[in-house]
C-alpha cells in the first residue's frame, strides 16, 4: 500500500510540473548554459589546473560537469523537503495529506520522490550533453560504484534536508544553518575545483564535510572506473553518515509534526 502512495505522489507532482509547460525547456536551456560556461573556463585555464586533476585523469570541464550534476542531487536532498513542506502549507494541502493514513517515513520519502526523479533526469542531461556536444570520456565508468555513491548521497543529504524541514515545521522559518552549510559545501566540497587547490587548513576542514567524499567518490567511479572496494574510505564515510543521520532525521521530523499538533500550528506558515 505504501508503494501506491509513493506512486500517487510521483504522479501528482509530475502533473503539477507539467502544468508549467515551459519550465522543462527552461531547465534544459539552463543546463546547456552552465555546461557552456564550464567549457569555456576549461579552455581558458586548462593548463594551470591539470596538476590538481591528475588524480582523476580528466580536464577541468569533465571534472566540473560531473561535480555540478552530483551537486544538484545534493541540493535536492538538502533543500527539497523544506521547499515541499512550505509549498504544501501554502496550498493548504499539508493538513489534508496528514489526515490520511500515511506513515511519517512514507510521507517523507513521497515528498521528494519527484525531486529525486527530476534530479536524476538532470544528471543524465548533464552527462548526455557532455558526451555528445563536448566529448567527455566515460569509457572507464564503473556503474556499480556510481549507483552506490548516488544512493548514499541521496540518503545522507536527504537526512540533512529532513532536519531542515523539521525546523520549518516548528519555527515556520527556513533553517539558516542549511543555507550556510550549502554554501560552505559548494566552496569546500570540491564541486567547482578539487580540494587540493585549497590551502592546507581549509583542506583539513573540508574532510569533515560529507560532500568532499561524495564528489571524490563519484569522480573516481566515473572517470577512473574504481570499484566499490577501492572507494571503501569514501563510501564508508558516506555510509556512516547515512546510517547515523537517517533515523535521527526521521525521528526529528516525527517529533516536529507531534509538536505542531500539540501547538495547533501544522497549517501555519
Amino acid at each position: 500500500m505504501w508503494l501506491r502512495k509513493i506512486i500517487g505522489f510521483l504522479k501528482k507532482d509530475f502533473l503539477l510540473e507539467s502544468s508549467y509547460r515551459f519550465s522543462f525547456f527552461f531547465d534544459i536551456f539552463g543546463i546547456l548554459i552552465n555546461i557552456s560556461i564550464y567549457f569555456f573556463i576549461d579552455r581558458l585555464f586548462e593548463q594551470r589546473l591539470v596538476a590538481h586533476l591528475e588524480e582523476f585523469g580528466v580536464n577541468y570541464f569533465s571534472y566540473v560537469i560531473l561535480s555540478s550534476a552530483a551537486f544538484s542531487y545534493i541540493g535536492i536532498g538538502m533543500g527539497s523537503f523544506a521547499e515541499r513542506i512550505r509549498s504544501e502549507q501554502v496550498q493548504g494541502t499539508l493538513e489534508t495529506i496528514l489526515v490520511t493514513p500515511t506513515r511519517t517515513a512514507v510521507l517523507v520519502f513521497s515528498l521528494i520522490i519527484w525531486s529525486l526523479f527530476s534530479a536524476t533526469l538532470e544528471l543524465f542531461m548533464y552527462i548526455t550533453l557532455g558526451i555528445f556536444l563536448f566529448k567527455i570520456d566515460l569509457t572507464h565508468l564503473n556503474i556499480l560504484s556510481c549507483i552506490i555513491t548516488l544512493l548514499l548521497i541521496i540518503i545522507s543529504f536527504s537526512s540533512l534536508g529532513i532536519i531542515s524541514a523539521s525546523f520549518l515545521i516548528v519555527f515556520k522559518r527556513l533553517n539558516p544553518l542549511s543555507w550556510l552549510i550549502g554554501s560552505l559545501e559548494g566552496l569546500l566540497g570540491g564541486v567547482y575545483f578539487p580540494i587540493t587547490v585549497l590551502p592546507g587548513w581549509l583542506q583539513f576542514i573540508a574532510r569533515f564535510f560529507p560532500i568532499t567524499y561524495a564528489i571524490r567518490a563519484i569522480q573516481l567511479a566515473v572517470y577512473k572506473g574504481y570499484h566499490p572496494m577501492q572507494l571503501s574510505r569514501e563510501l564508508g564515510f558516506l555510509f556512516l553518515f547515512s546510517i547515523l543521520l537517517l533515523p535521527i532525521s526521521i525521528f526529528i521530523f516525527w517529533k516536529s509534526l507531534y509538536r505542531s499538533r500539540k501547538t495547533g500550528t501544522l497549517a501555519h506558515y
Binding site: 500517487g8 502544468s19 489534508t96 495547533g264 500550528t265
Partner: protein
C-alpha cells in the same frame, strides 16, 4: 451501547508562539487561549451532531482533535475504542474530514486528478478509485470533472471537499461549516444526502460545526453548545428543552439561556 466517539476530560490550551520581541508572552497564562475545557461526552453511531457556538468557541479545535490534526493537552479521546495519539493511523482510516477553508486542493490539477491523488493516500487501488469516483460524480452531479480546480465555483469546490472526505467510505464524517459556500438547492441536496443516505442507510456518524441555529435544527439529531471552550449542553432538542424548563423553546432561546 456502542459509542463511536468518547471524549474524557479533554482540555486544550493554545499558548502564544515564542517571539523575541515579547519573550515572556510565551510563559504568560493570561495570553493563553482556552480552546476546550475539560470536555467529556460520548456519541453513539448513526447520528448527526451539530456543534454550535460563536467564533472562537472551540468548534474547529474539537473537530481537529478528532481528525488527529491537533493533540489535546490532557484527557483521552477514543474513536471506536481506538485511542487518539496511539492508534492514529487506524483512526485516520475511519474518519473523513472537511475543513472550513476552501484551500486544501492543488489548484493546477483537475478535480478528478485531485481526488485520484487523495484516493491513493487512502490506499484505494486504481479499480476502486474509478468505481468510487464514478459513484461520487454521479451522486453529486459533477459533469466537469476534468476542469482545473481553480476554475470551479466555491460551491463546486465544497462539493469536491466532501467527495474527498467520502472517498474511503469513512465511519465518522467531520464537517467544519460544510454548507457555508453552498446555494440553497445544493445545501438542501447535501443535507438530504447526508441524512438519508449516509446516516439512515449506511449508519454513518456525522459531526458538523455551525453558528447558524436554523441550519442545525434542520439537519442534526443532537446539539452541542460550546462557548469559549466550555460545554454548556449536549442532547436532542427535547432534552435541551427539558434542561431549560421550556418545552417550546427554540434552539436559539436554549442557546441564549444556557450560555447567559
Amino acid at each position: 451501547m456502542r459509542y463511536i466517539l468518547e471524549f474524557n476530560k479533554v482540555t486544550k490550551i493554545f499558548y502564544p508562539p515564542f517571539s523575541f520581541k515579547n519573550p515572556l508572552d510565551f510563559l504568560s497564562s493570561q495570553k493563553a487561549i482556552l480552546a476546550l475545557n475539560n470536555i467529556t461526552f460520548q456519541l453513539r453511531e448513526g447520528v448527526i451532531l451539530a456543534v454550535l457556538g460563536p467564533n472562537g468557541a472551540g468548534k474547529t479545535t474539537l473537530l481537529k482533535i478528532i481528525s488527529t490534526l491537533i493533540l489535546p493537552d490532557s484527557g483521552t479521546v477514543k474513536i471506536k475504542d481506538l485511542i487518539l495519539g496511539k492508534d492514529d493511523l487506524r483512526i485516520k482510516s475511519l474518519i473523513g474530514w472537511v475543513g472550513s477553508s476552501e484551500r486544501g486542493f492543488y489548484p493546477r490539477l483537475t478535480g478528478r486528478q485531485n481526488l485520484e491523488f487523495f484516493a491513493c493516500l487512502y490506499g484505494l487501488d486504481k479499480k476502486k478509485i474509478n468505481l468510487r469516483l464514478q459513484e461520487l460524480f454521479k451522486f453529486f452531479k459533477i459533469d466537469y470533472q476534468d476542469k482545473r480546480f481553480d476554475t470551479y465555483s466555491s460551491g463546486m469546490q465544497q462539493k469536491f471537499a466532501l467527495m474527498r472526505a467520502l472517498l474511503h467510505d469513512p465511519e465518522l464524517l467531520l464537517l467544519d461549516e460544510p454548507l457555508k459556500s453552498l446555494d440553497y438547492t445544493t445545501a438542501l441536496n447535501l443535507r438530504n444526502f447526508i441524512k438519508e443516505h449516509l446516516v439512515k442507510e449506511k449508519n454513518k456518524t456525522v459531526i458538523f460545526t455551525t453558528h447558524r441555529m436554523e441550519e442545525a435544527v434542520d439537519f442534526a439529531d443532537l446539539f452541542m453548545i460550546l462557548v469559549k471552550g466550555y460545554l454548556y449542553g449536549l442532547g436532542t432538542l427535547s432534552e435541551l428543552r427539558k434542561k431549560v424548563n421550556n418545552p417550546s423553546a427554540t434552539l436559539s432561546e436554549i442557546f441564549l439561556k444556557l450560555t447567559q
